[in-house]
């Protein structure tokens, strides 16, 4: 088990190195944009995976934590001048607190009741944001550009810094998941997911266990939201708080393989380019073909590989394999 963990860390390092080299030969802005978005979603979906995958609490409201991170870091920058390189931590913290506040009452609900409650909470905040003047309401907030800077996390001359920022984010969330896989808390999450009654008979405190997962997941999602805000330079409730975003955050992990280290990476690498490409080639003037493709793909993968696409790479050993080895 310890050796397997070391091997995974090594594989993660190799993947990081390869991904760091990947953008160097890429010149065109469109492809780099695609790479940045994909890497962001690798991190976001891994953040969701901590709560939804490892701990088994299927949240369909992660847009709330994403939006909280985006709005908090942006507003702190605009009103107090706090540089977003620090503001993203503030955004992450607020998102974590929100995740705890949502989790504390909602974790008492089981199954579908929980999933629907998470949707509802996120939609409430979305609707409130649409009507909140201090958040810019429905028209949103622009982040003024003041020159390339790693302090303000703004770059216009090149997209490369954002590629590395997104890569660092994805790598750190991956590392967080790797670390947690080897801790008591990480083991307890999987126990809580599989059988909470058996878990508590072994002295596992179920609610605190879920709350730790929610806090970490919320924090990492909020940081991702703050980075996204800096990258796009403009946020509004529809782009950072809306319901479809919650689904898009969860999907890569679901399609790639929930509760695994590589699932979100694999899922995002497939899903994000596909949805962006189909939108730009097929989606013009509201054709709807992009949505059909996107929805069709989700149904296909969910039926064909319910354990996620990662199952394709798992050892073929029938009884000898289990989710943890994937």
């Amino acid at each position: 088990m310890l050796r397997r963990r070391r091997r995974r860390l090594l594989a993660g390092g190799v993947a990081l190195l390869l991904l760091a080299l990947l953008p160097l030969p890429i010149g065109d802005v469109y492809t780099l944009n695609l790479l940045i978005l994909t890497l962001l979603y690798v991190g976001l979906s891994q953040a969701w995976n901590i709560l939804g995958g490892y701990c088994g609490q299927i949240s369909l409201g992660h847009a709330l934590y994403f939006g909280a991170g985006a709005y908090v870091s942006t507003l702190l920058y605009l009103h107090l001048g706090l540089p977003p390189s620090l503001g993203l931590f503030a955004g992450g913290l607020v998102a974590a607190v929100l995740a705890l506040a949502v989790g504390w009452p909602c974790f008492r609900l089981s199954g579908h009741y929980y999933a629907i409650a998470t949707i509802v909470v996120a939609v409430i905040f979305y609707l409130l944001a649409l009507n909140a003047d201090f958040l810019g309401g429905a028209s949103g907030v622009y982040i003024p550009f003041k020159g390339d800077s790693w302090v303000a996390l703004q770059f216009r001359t090149s997209k490369l810094p954002f590629v590395y920022l997104a890569l660092a984010y994805a790598a750190l969330v991956w590392l967080l998941a790797w670390i947690m896989e080897g801790t008591r808390a990480g083991f307890y999450w999987r126990a809580v997911k599989d059988d909470p009654i058996a878990a508590r008979s072994l002295a596992v405190r179920v609610l605190p266990s879920k709350l730790v997962a929610a806090g970490l997941s919320g924090f990492a999602t909020g940081v991702g939201g703050a980075i996204y805000a800096q990258y796009v330079g403009y946020i509004d409730p529809d782009s950072v708080l809306a319901m479809p975003l919650s689904i898009l955050i969860a999907l890569p992990a679901v399609l790639g393989g929930v509760g695994t280290l590589w699932g979100p990476l694999l899922g995002a690498a497939l899903l994000i380019p596909l949805s962006e490409l189909s939108r730009s080639y097929l989606g013009g003037s509201g054709h709807g073909v992009d949505l059909m493709l996107y929805g069709g793909l989700i149904m296909l993968v969910a039926l064909w590989r319910p354990e996620g696409l990662l199952g394709l790479f798992a050892r073929r050993g029938g009884a000898g394999t289990h989710a943890g080895t994937a």
Binding site: A199, S201, L202, V204, T321, H322
Partner: protein, 243 residues
């Protein structure tokens, strides 16, 4: 022998129906105690009260002098009461080893320590060869064994077994009996609820017989079997008459 687990006047009723009425007995350190009785005697309710799953309406349950009644399953497990389930539960997405590690984490916060504890327990329970197998792939008797292993990994003082031998073939039941003896030899006190008396009687040191929610009698297996009241109580429950 000093009493490790003490029950004092434990009562519980569900919606006006009394499941347990003023039940008192002691479990001595190191003994194997059988909790028996015909259907509806209140065994399951009492078992769950000791495991912390349900809070008694009145009375006290003490482990080594510390009151645990109504403090919940986590407190019971942390204090040293481990249990198995009548309908087997396992963490199906995890390997056998990982299942047992969940138990081991109750005493050891670190990964290595939990791993070593779990490996040692698997050895005791004869599951070492199956360590890397997914829990869902085990046979039913293996799953029972896994439950015992997981419970033992919490390093309990008392192990509660819920109908662990029921539904096993005679060979499998004999293996179960050997495992329970091995557990006791490690210094763990065993309290087992059982329906099948044939296998149970040679294994236990003492039996507590429940009938209609009350303690009918307490004694050695020989005494209990000879007790006319016990025979009478079981006659109403033909299918499981004492051997």
């Amino acid at each position: 022998m000093p009493a490790l687990l003490e029950l004092r006047e434990v009562s519980k009723s569900f919606g006006g129906v009394a499941a347990n009425v003023a039940i008192s007995f002691d479990v001595a350190e190191g003994e194997i105690l059988g909790l028996i009785g015909p259907n509806g005697a209140g065994k399951t309710s009492l078992f769950n009260a000791i495991a912390g799953e349900i809070a008694p309406d009145s009375g006290d349950i003490r482990l080594a002098g510390r009151s645990l009644a109504g403090r919940g399953p986590v407190a019971a497990a942390a204090a040293g009461i481990a249990r198995t389930f009548q309908v087997v539960r396992s963490f199906d997405s995890m390997s056998v080893l990982e299942n047992v590690m969940i138990g081991a984490f109750a005493r050891h916060a670190g990964l290595r320590a939990a791993l070593h504890t779990a490996e040692a327990v698997l050895e005791t329970c004869g599951l070492t060869a199956r360590a890397e197998v997914a829990a869902m792939a085990l046979t039913p008797p293996e799953k029972r064994r896994l439950e015992v292993a997981r419970a033992l990994a919490t390093e309990p003082r008392v192990l509660l077994l819920d109908e662990m031998l029921t539904g096993l073939t005679p060979t499998e039941a004999q293996e179960g009996v050997r495992l329970i003896r091995a557990v006791r030899d490690r210094g763990v006190t065993v309290l087992m609820v059982e329906h099948v008396m044939e296998v149970l009687l040679p294994l236990i040191d003492r039996a507590v017989v429940l009938h209609l929610g009350r303690v009918l009698t307490i004694g050695s297996p020989a005494e209990v079997v000879a007790d006319a009241r016990v025979i009478e109580a079981y006659l109403g429950d033909r299918y499981h008459a004492p051997a």
